[in-house]
């Protein structure tokens, strides 16, 4: 079974796949609750209950969003007894947040 030679892929098509995945990635960041969760986790791992408490939201809502973040590989769970601790899965997550925040803060300060 031969392997796919990426060099032979039409360069425009390859770009499209990346751009599609990029828009899918941004969809995960495009929710207030999820951004708050990710931001909270930049300070280190947290369990679901503490996250729900910090965001003043129901446990179910937070758990649903953690599921989305987990499925996207942005967040990683670690079980310890009854408690599940979540942490950022990738150093890129922080960089993406920072790139956006830079723009947002720049705009808030009056362009």
């Amino acid at each position: 079974m031969d392997q796919i030679d990426e060099a032979k892929i039409n360069p425009e098509e390859k770009d499209l796949i990346d751009l599609y995945n990029l828009s899918e990635l941004y969809k995960v960041f495009a929710d207030f609750t999820r951004v708050r969760i990710l931001s909270a986790l930049t300070g280190g791992e947290m369990c679901v209950y503490n996250l729900a408490e910090a965001l003043e939201m129901g446990q179910s809502a937070v758990s649903h969003q953690l599921r989305v973040l987990r499925a996207s590989g942005l967040v990683r769970p670690r079980r310890e007894g009854k408690t599940v601790y979540y942490s950022l899965d990738d150093e890129h997550v922080n960089e993406i947040l920072e790139a956006g925040l830079e723009h947002v803060i720049h705009k808030r300060k009056g362009l």
Copy 2:
């Protein structure tokens, strides 16, 4: 979620308003069509017709999305006769795209 109750801000969290604006910003990037438009404009300004042609989409759909990008200050129009040329409005736009792309490409290459 259209508004924020400032009274509920938790001091331990990052500025909620910034995080809210951040999620709103990501919403604009969270669409395949808009990402393709922004990506196309990284190569320089383009008129609506050429954008529609490049994306193989209807003029109306592209125009609607340009409106969203305009309203978000990510894109700037320049009229020249009948034609309107659009370009990226902010050097940050490119940085945000790059930060996400880095993650996407990293994942595609097998983590």
